[in-house]
């Protein structure tokens, strides 16, 4: 009994990989991985939370298997902080290290390095949202959003034009995004609104995104944040409701958004029943398929609240997509370190990244490779906006205390959006809750 054949290199893998394990394995071999290394792909858990628990069980009990673990970029850091992952500096060949450090999407690499910049994992793919829209409807209404592929428009303009399209078109939904009180809201949707308005959770992201806990400002109750919330409220409640912005067009998002996670928000769009959708690249593959919207779908980067560079903090303002994605890290207890390293090295190869993009839609973590992948079907059509979005991302503040903070963020943001509490009240409440957490877990 036990975890399968003893001589295989065991790694946790995403569903996409496990559903295509033969092809992926072959791609890895094709990209230079020794065929002597047998791969066993297992599930680490279905939701990211569950994987996190599972990993912390495995690692704190010093299990030898799995040898490699796929880590959500949102919570790789706490494991690094706790010293539960293999430091890759000095283990991987230096050219590999250099490639990762220098050529990869920087934000992605940041999620897997410690405060000294030492690498603990190799990004598998980065993830960042874009706006998908019904190109046909937009054009019918007399607009052209293709021009914003690498030159995003502002939220204000977006709201007006979208409202116009929505009114003219015979669809049930306008702009779909996810406002449910879930991690998605905290890590990403709300984060995007806030950052594009020039605000931040913890002050200057370049300085404070990953700590020091307790020693950084909590800036969630500042004006840009409030403005971004007012804007989002306008999208849902219209301009007549309290705490909304008159200069925006309202009523473009259904109230259903309050209980929308990813799938429910996407469904109507896939069915052609919505004008636009905020979602991750995986959905481009789905919605852009010929049996869905096909060529009628357009993709553009997220709109901005304040223009790039005009935000309160460096790196804020402009079009911002939250950064997600996955990294591969090595179990420090493995007895197959060399094979694991060989695997990681293969991950950095352009052949494999392309294959992975093509097979399962994982965006190459190396932007250069992404740019060259025009021949990939569906995704290939949207390389420009994707590349642009990849360069304009904001990671979540994934410190050790983030898992405690994400719930309050989601709760208060959701409450503010729904209107249970005033925007200001909600954010000052949030600020105090975050501060409390910061203080009680001061490192």
């Amino acid at each position: 009994y036990g975890g399968g054949s003893d001589d295989a290199l065991q790694l946790t893998a995403t569903n996409e990989w496990r559903n295509n394990s033969d092809e992926i394995t072959q791609a890895l071999y094709d990209a230079g991985l020794s065929e002597d290394i047998e791969l066993e792909l297992i599930s680490g858990g279905q939701t990211t939370d569950e994987m996190q628990n599972q990993y912390s069980q495995w690692l704190s009990s010093r299990q030898e298997k799995p040898d490699l673990l796929a880590f959500d970029s949102g919570w790789t850091l706490p494991f690094i902080v706790r010293g539960q992952l293999q430091n890759l500096e000095g283990e991987l060949p230096s050219d590999v290290l250099d490639t990762v450090h220098e050529d990869y999407f920087e934000q992605s690499v940041n999620t897997t390095t410690d405060s000294d910049g030492e690498l603990y994992g190799v990004p598998l793919y980065p993830d960042f949202p874009t706006i998908q829209y019904r190109k046909d409807l937009v054009e019918d209404a007399g607009y052209d959003w293709e021009q914003y592929r690498t030159d995003p428009l502002s939220w204000e303009q977006f709201s007006h034009e979208l409202q116009d399209v929505y009114e003219q078109a015979d669809v049930a939904y306008g702009y779909n995004w996810q406002a449910a009180s879930e991690i998605q809201l905290a890590c990403c949707v709300f984060n995007e609104f806030v950052t594009s308005w020039g605000g931040a959770y913890f002050g200057n992201p370049e300085e404070y995104l990953y700590g020091p806990i307790g020693d950084r400002p909590v800036t969630i109750d500042e004006e840009p944040v409030l403005q971004s919330l007012r804007m989002a409220r306008t999208f849902i409640h219209g301009t007549d409701a309290p705490d909304t912005l008159d200069e925006f067009a309202g009523g473009i998002t259904s109230e259903e958004a309050f209980q929308w996670g990813l799938s429910p928000s996407m469904q109507p769009f896939t069915d052609g029943d919505a004008v636009a959708l905020r979602n991750w690249p995986y959905s481009i593959n789905i919605n852009g398929a010929d049996d869905a919207l096909g060529e009628d779908m357009g993709v553009m980067p997220m709109p901005y609240g304040v223009p790039e560079g005009e935000g309160e903090y460096p790196g804020t303002g402009g079009s911002i997509g939250a950064l997600g994605g996955w990294n591969y890290c090595v179990n420090p207890n493995t007895d197959r370190l060399d094979d694991a390293l060989a695997f990681l090295e293969t991950l950095t190869s352009p052949e494999f990244q392309r294959a992975n993009f093509e097979l399962v839609g994982h965006i190459p973590p190396n932007p250069d490779i992404l740019k060259d992948a025009t021949d990939v079907s569906i995704m290939g059509r949207y390389l420009e906006p994707l590349s642009f979005a990849g360069d304009h991302t904001m990671a979540r503040p994934a410190t050790a205390v983030w898992s405690q903070q994400s719930d309050p963020v989601a709760q208060e943001a959701n409450a503010a959006l729904m209107g249970d509490t005033g925007v200001e009240d909600a954010m000052s409440e949030l600020a105090s809750r975050l501060t409390d957490l910061e203080e009680s877990f001061e490192s």
Binding site: G2, S43, G44, Q46, T47, S61, R62, P268, T270, S283
Partner: protein, 305 residues
């Protein structure tokens, strides 16, 4: 018109009259109404699952109560995407092992608590009950360490039960135990003393009497306890999730099989629904077989004062 009214009135009248004179009819109709109500309530969500399963995943939106599209292939796809049957087999094995342990150990305990009065009975029973107060996560950390061989007891390293059926079976047996003990205690208590006396005089040991007389006589209770523990284990989430690594070879139960259809971003609702329907089949079979036992266990009027 007025004729019709008086007609209906008299029908109502007559019905009411009949109802008063013959309340049995009323009970019968009440029973039928109840059957109808509960069957609808119980089965509707299953119907809804079928609707979901038949609707292609992409089309699952604005669902009414009829499938949008007809895609019975989902029921096959379930097995193509993951070895769902193997997950089910794992689950059935795990649930069976647990049920055997729970029934054996629990029967003895229930028997003792139900039929003997001894010093410490009540505190012990309460102590066992207290175990069920705790959320499963309260047991998880130490058990995980135990099963991964990190705990040394009297110089012996604990056996590696992680990724074996026992890693799930043992804790779940323990956690199901309080319920089963309480249940069987009440059942054993209801069996007349005389029968056990008779068996013992005839040469049974106390254990023999338990096995041959008490257990068969508490058949409804034992069958219920069996169904309960089987279903509890089959459906359990926490340990089933965390005590195995999710591979079929690692004894992962059906839960992992169902989760295989739930990606982190996109959920294959249709496959989950189909898998659920398939996954419930062993339960349905069990309920059918076991409830036969419930019925045949006691021929009517069997328990004599």
């Amino acid at each position: 018109m007025s004729d019709a009214t008086s007609d209906t009135e008299s029908v109502i009248d007559r019905t009411a009259h009949r109802a008063i004179r013959d309340p049995d009819t009323v009970y019968r109709w009440l029973t039928y109404a109840g059957i109808g109500f509960f069957l609808t309530v119980s089965l509707f969500p299953f119907y809804w699952l079928v609707v979901l399963a038949l609707t292609p995943n992409r089309a699952i939106a604005d669902m009414g109560v009829v499938p949008k599209g007809f895609n019975p292939g989902a029921f096959l796809e379930v097995f193509e995407v993951v070895p769902f049957h193997l997950y089910m087999l794992n689950s059935v094995i795990i649930a069976s092992l647990s049920t055997i342990i729970v029934l054996t150990v629990g029967s003895i305990a229930g028997y003792v608590f139900g039929r003997y009065d001894f010093p410490g009975r009540t505190p012990l029973l309460l102590g066992i009950l207290v175990i069920s107060y705790f959320p499963p996560v309260a047991f998880l950390i130490p058990l995980f360490r135990l099963f991964t061989g990190q705990v040394t007891l009297i110089g012996l390293e604990s056996p590696e039960l992680y990724n074996t059926p026992w890693g799930i079976v043992m804790p779940l047996s323990a956690i199901t135990m309080p319920l089963i003990i309480f249940l069987l205690t009440t059942f054993y208590r209801q069996i007349p003393d005389g029968l056990e006396d008779a068996a013992r005089i005839e040469g049974s040991t106390r254990i023999g009497a338990l096995r041959r007389v008490i257990v068969p006589l508490s058949a409804p209770g034992v069958a219920t306890a069996g169904i309960l523990s089987f279903i509890i284990v089959y459906n359990e989430f926490f340990f089933s999730y965390l005590m195995v690594n999710g591979t079929v070879e690692g004894w992962s139960p059906v839960l992992h099989g169902i989760f295989a259809f739930q990606g982190s971003q996109q959920v294959a609702y249709n496959l989950m629904a189909a898998a659920s329907i398939i996954g419930v089949i062993p339960m349905a079979l069990l309920v059918m077989i076991a409830q036969e036992r419930i019925v045949s266990g006691l021929t009517q009027g069997a328990l004599k004062e």
